[in-house]
C-alpha cells in the first residue's frame, strides 16, 4: 500500500479517464442524433455555451483548489485539517481589512498586494494554532479544526459588524486582472483554454504555478519524500533522523499560506468586499476535492475544476442559458436548487470515491516518540 501511495502517476488511471470521456462523448453524440429529450440540448449547451465561460469556472475553482492544497500539505504529513474553511474566512476578512485601510495609503496595486500579504499571515497564524493544538497538545484534530471554523465564523462576523458596518467601510480596491481580447477567446479549442489560464488576476495565476510546483516537489524532492514519509510512517521517518514534529509544524503552517491565498482571492480579486460566512463551505469542498484528487496536487486541482464548474452552474445558466427543452426546464427551477448542487455533488463524490482513495497511513494520528507500534 505504501509503495502504491508514493507512486505519483499510474497509466491505467489515465486510460480509465480516457474511457469515461469517450463514453460521455459517445452518449452526447448519440443523444443529439437520436434527439433524446434534454440530452441533446444539454450537450449542445456543454459544447457551445460553456467553453466561453471557462474563465468563470476557473474563478470558482481557485479558492477550492487553494483550500485543497492547504489540506494536501497538512494531510500528506499526517495532520487532518478540517479548519481550512475557518482559515480561508479569517484570511478573507483580514485581507479585506488590510486592503481597505492600506489601499488609500499605498496606491492602487500595492494596497491590495499588502492585503494579500496580511491575509496569508492571518491564515498562517490560524494554522499555527491548529498545528500547536494537534501536534504538540495532541488534541483531537477534528475538534481543533472545528474550533478554528467556529472561531473564524464568529470572530469575523463580530469584527465585521464592529469595524465595517459601523464605520461604513464600503469596499477595497481589487487586484488588476489581465483581460484577454475577445478575438483570442473566440478561437475554437485554444481560446477557452487560454482564457481560463490568462483571464485571471495574480492570485489565480499563482495557483497554476503552485499546483505544478507542489506536484514536482512532493514526488521529486527531499522535502516531498520527508513529508510523505512522515504522513505514512512517522516512526520509520523518525528512525532515519527526520524530525517528525518539525516537518509537521512546517507543513501545516505553510499549508495555511495556501488557505490565506484562497481568502485573499475571495476579497481582493473575485469580490471587493467581505460578507459574513462568504466562503460558504469552500474549504470543505476543497477537502472533498483533495480526497477526490487522491491526495495529489494535480488531481486535487482537476477535482477543484469539476467542483468549480458545478458551483458556477447557477451563474452559467443565467449568463448563457441552454437552448431547447432543457432551457425551458432550467428556467422553471428555483435558484436554491442550484445553490444545493455543489454540496450534494460533494456528498456524492465523498460517498463514491472515498472507499478507493488511499489516505496517508498516519493521517490524524498525533506522533508520540515514546509510543510502541
Amino acid at each position: 500500500v505504501t509503495a502504491s501511495a508514493l507512486r505519483p502517476i499510474r497509466v491505467p488511471r489515465a486510460m480509465a479517464w480516457a474511457t469515461i470521456i469517450g463514453i460521455v462523448v459517445a452518449v452526447g453524440l448519440l443523444g443529439s442524433i437520436l434527439q433524446v429529450p434534454f440530452l441533446g440540448s444539454f450537450f449542445d449547451w456543454l459544447v457551445n455555451r460553456v467553453p466561453p465561460l471557462s474563465a468563470l469556472i476557473v474563478q470558482y475553482a481557485v479558492p477550492i483548489a487553494f483550500g485543497a492544497l492547504c489540506g494536501l500539505m497538512c494531510e500528506r504529513s499526517g495532520v487532518v485539517n478540517i479548519g481550512i474553511e475557518g482559515m480561508i474566512l479569517t484570511a478573507a476578512f483580514v485581507g479585506f481589512l488590510a486592503g481597505a485601510y492600506l489601499g488609500p495609503v499605498l496606491g492602487v496595486p500595492w494596497g491590495a498586494l499588502a492585503g494579500v500579504g496580511f491575509a496569508v499571515l492571518a491564515a498562517m497564524a490560524m494554522s499555527a494554532l491548529h498545528a500547536w493544538l494537534s501536534i504538540s497538545i495532541k488534541a483531537d484534530q477534528i475538534i481543533s479544526g472545528t474550533v478554528i471554523n467556529i472561531l473564524a465564523l464568529g470572530g469575523t462576523a463580530f469584527f465585521n459588524q464592529l469595524l465595517v458596518s459601523t464605520t461604513g467601510l464600503s469596499g477595497t480596491e481589487t487586484l488588476p486582472r489581465l483581460d484577454l481580447p475577445r478575438e483570442i477567446v473566440s478561437i475554437p479549442f485554444l481560446g477557452p483554454v487560454l482564457s481560463a489560464v490568462l483571464d485571471q488576476g495574480p492570485v489565480a495565476m499563482s495557483l497554476f504555478v503552485a499546483v505544478i510546483l507542489l506536484q514536482v516537489l512532493l514526488f521529486r524532492s527531499r522535502w516531498g519524500l520527508r513529508t510523505r514519509a512522515v504522513g505514512e510512517h512517522p516512526k520509520a521517518a523518525d528512525t532515519v533522523g527526520i524530525d517528525v514534529i518539525r516537518v509537521r509544524y512546517r507543513n501545516v503552517i505553510l499549508g495555511g499560506a495556501f488557505a490565506g491565498l484562497a481568502g485573499a482571492y475571495l476579497t481582493l480579486e473575485q469580490f471587493n468586499s467581505f460578507q459574513d460566512n462568504m466562503t460558504g463551505g469552500v474549504g470543505f469542498i476543497g477537502l472533498a476535492a483533495l480526497i477526490f484528487g487522491r491526495y495529489t496536487p494535480v488531481g486535487a486541482f482537476g477535482a477543484a475544476l469539476l467542483f468549480g464548474a458545478v458551483q458556477s452552474m447557477q451563474l452559467a445558466v443565467r449568463i448563457s442559458p441552454p437552448a431547447g427543452d432543457l432551457g425551458q426546464w432550467v428556467g422553471t427551477l428555483e435558484p436554491q436548487w442550484f445553490g444545493m448542487l455543489p454540496y450534494i455533488f460533494t456528498i456524492i463524490v465523498l460517498a463514491g470515491v472515498v472507499g478507493r482513495t488511499v489516505v496517508p497511513a498516519a493521517d490524524g494520528i498525533p506522533y508520540d516518540k515514546e509510543s510502541r507500534a
Binding site: 475538534i143 472545528t146 444545493m340 465523498l350 472515498v354 472507499g355 489516505v359 494520528i365 498525533p366 515514546e370
Partner: protein, 367 residues
C-alpha cells in the same frame, strides 16, 4: 485496506465525553467551571475591545461587569426579585440547545462527530400543521432522516462524516428556504415564511407572559434517559484511566489508571489496544469473550448445547468446522456428524469445562 485505516483512525480519536466525564464528579465540575470562566473572560476581553473600537469609544474595563450584570438582570434576577419572565425565556432558549447537544453527544458515544446537528435541527424544526404529538414525532423523524444520511454514508462508503454533515447543513438550509418560499409559503406574508403552526400542534405555555413551553420537559426527559443507560451499560465510564471506544478499561492490568502514562499515551495506546482487541475478537468469533466483559459483550456466547446443535458437523467451535470431507456443502462431505459423547456430557454439565489455551491467553475457569 482503506477501510481498515478508516476504522483505526476512528478508533484513534478519543471520545470527548470520556475525556470530560472520565474523571469522577470532582473533575467534571472542575473542567466545566474552568471552561465557563474562560469563556466569560474571553467574552470580557471582546467586550472591552469592542467598546474601544466603536466610534468615540474608549478603554473601559468596567464594561464587562455592566454587560454581565445586564445579562443576569435580564434572565435571572433584577431589582424586583426573581425575574420569572427572564427565567422562562432562558429555559425556552435552552430547550433546543439541550436537544441539539444531546444529538451530538449521541454521535460522540458512537465515536463519530456529528457536527451537522444544526442541519438536522433545522429539518426537525419544520412545523407541520398536525396535532402536537404527531408534529413532534414528525420533526424527530425529519431530523433522524437527515442524520441517517451521513450515518449510512459513513458505514457503507466510509464518507467523511464531518464534511458530509456540514454539506448537509447547507443543503438543509437551502431546502427549507425553498419550501418556505415556495410550497409552504404563507400567502399573506411579505417575506418567505410558513404560516403559523395551528394552536393544536403547539406545546402548552408553562408560564403566562413568557414563551416557555412544555418542550423543556421533553428535553429533560430525553437528556436523562441515555445518561442513565450509558452509565448502566458502561460502568467503567465513571472510572479513572483510559478506556477504549466501548468504554472498556484498557492499559496495563492491575495498575490501570494509576500510572500517569496511561493518560499521556492515550491516543497511541488506544489505537494499539483497540486494534489488538478487534483482531482477537474477530479471530475468536462473536461472544468469544465468554461474557467476561460483562458490561459490553457484543454477543453473548451461546451455551455449549446450542453450539453443538448449531454446528453443521456436530462439533462446537470453529476449528472443527470446514474440515475437508466434513463439509455438508461438498459432495460426499457428510452431513451432521455425531459428536463424541464427551462433548455431550460437557453440555449436560457433567464434567467441568476447561478450554485449551488456543489463543495464547490465560483463560480463567468459571464456576
Amino acid at each position: 485496506m482503506s477501510e481498515e485505516r478508516g476504522a483505526s483512525s476512528a478508533a484513534m480519536s478519543v471520545d470527548p465525553t470520556t475525556l470530560l466525564l472520565g474523571g469522577g464528579l470532582g473533575r467534571q465540575v472542575a473542567v466545566t467551571t474552568v471552561a465557563v470562566v474562560l469563556g466569560l473572560a474571553i467574552g470580557a476581553i471582546l467586550i472591552i475591545i469592542s467598546g474601544m473600537l466603536v466610534p468615540d469609544g474608549r478603554f473601559d474595563p468596567t464594561l464587562p461587569i455592566t454587560a454581565y450584570g445586564a445579562l443576569i438582570e435580564g434572565s435571572l434576577w433584577n431589582a424586583e426579585g426573581l425575574n420569572l419572565t427572564g427565567i422562562g425565556n432562558a429555559l425556552n432558549a435552552a430547550t433546543p440547545l439541550i436537544l441539539t447537544g444531546l444529538s451530538v453527544a449521541f454521535g460522540f458515544r458512537a465515536g463519530l462527530f456529528n457536527i451537522g446537528a444544526q442541519g438536522q435541527f433545522f429539518l426537525g424544526a419544520f412545523p407541520f400543521p398536525i396535532g402536537m404529538a404527531i408534529a413532534v414525532l414528525a420533526g424527530a423523524l425529519g431530523g433522524a432522516f437527515w442524520g441517517f444520511i451521513p450515518g449510512i454514508l459513513k458505514a457503507w462508503r466510509g464518507a467523511h462524516e464531518v464534511v458530509v454533515t456540514i454539506m448537509l447543513n447547507s443543503v438543509a438550509a437551502l431546502f427549507l428556504n425553498l419550501l418556505a418560499s415556495g410550497l409552504f409559503r404563507d400567502p399573506g406574508a411579505t417575506f418567505p415564511r410558513t404560516p403559523d403552526v395551528q394552536p393544536g400542534a403547539l406545546m402548552p405555555i408553562l408560564i403566562e407572559g413568557t414563551r416557555l413551553h412544555g418542550g423543556i420537559f421533553l428535553a429533560l426527559i430525553v437528556a436523562a434517559e441515555p445518561e442513565r443507560r450509558a452509565l448502566r451499560r458502561h460502568p467503567a465510564s465513571a472510572d479513572h484511566g483510559p478506556h477504549d471506544e466501548h468504554g472498556r478499561r484498557i492499559g496495563r492490568p492491575g495498575r490501570r489508571g494509576r500510572d500517569p502514562r496511561d493518560h499521556e499515551e492515550l491516543p497511541g495506546r488506544v489505537q494499539h489496544d483497540v486494534r489488538l482487541r478487534r483482531y482477537r475478537r474477530r479471530a475468536a468469533g462473536p461472544g468469544a469473550s465468554g461474557g467476561r466483559h460483562r458490561c459490553c459483550a457484543p454477543v453473548r456466547r451461546p451455551s455449549l448445547r446450542r453450539r453443538i446443535d448449531a454446528a453443521p458437523d456436530g462439533y462446537p467451535g470453529r476449528h472443527h468446522q470446514h474440515r475437508p470431507g466434513r463439509d455438508p456443502a461438498v459432495r460426499g462431505g457428510g452431513g451432521r456428524h455425531p459428536a463424541p459423547a464427551a462433548i455431550h456430557a460437557l453440555a449436560a454439565g457433567h464434567v467441568g469445562h476447561r478450554r485449551g489455551n488456543r489463543r495464547g491467553r490465560r483463560v480463567r475457569r468459571r464456576a
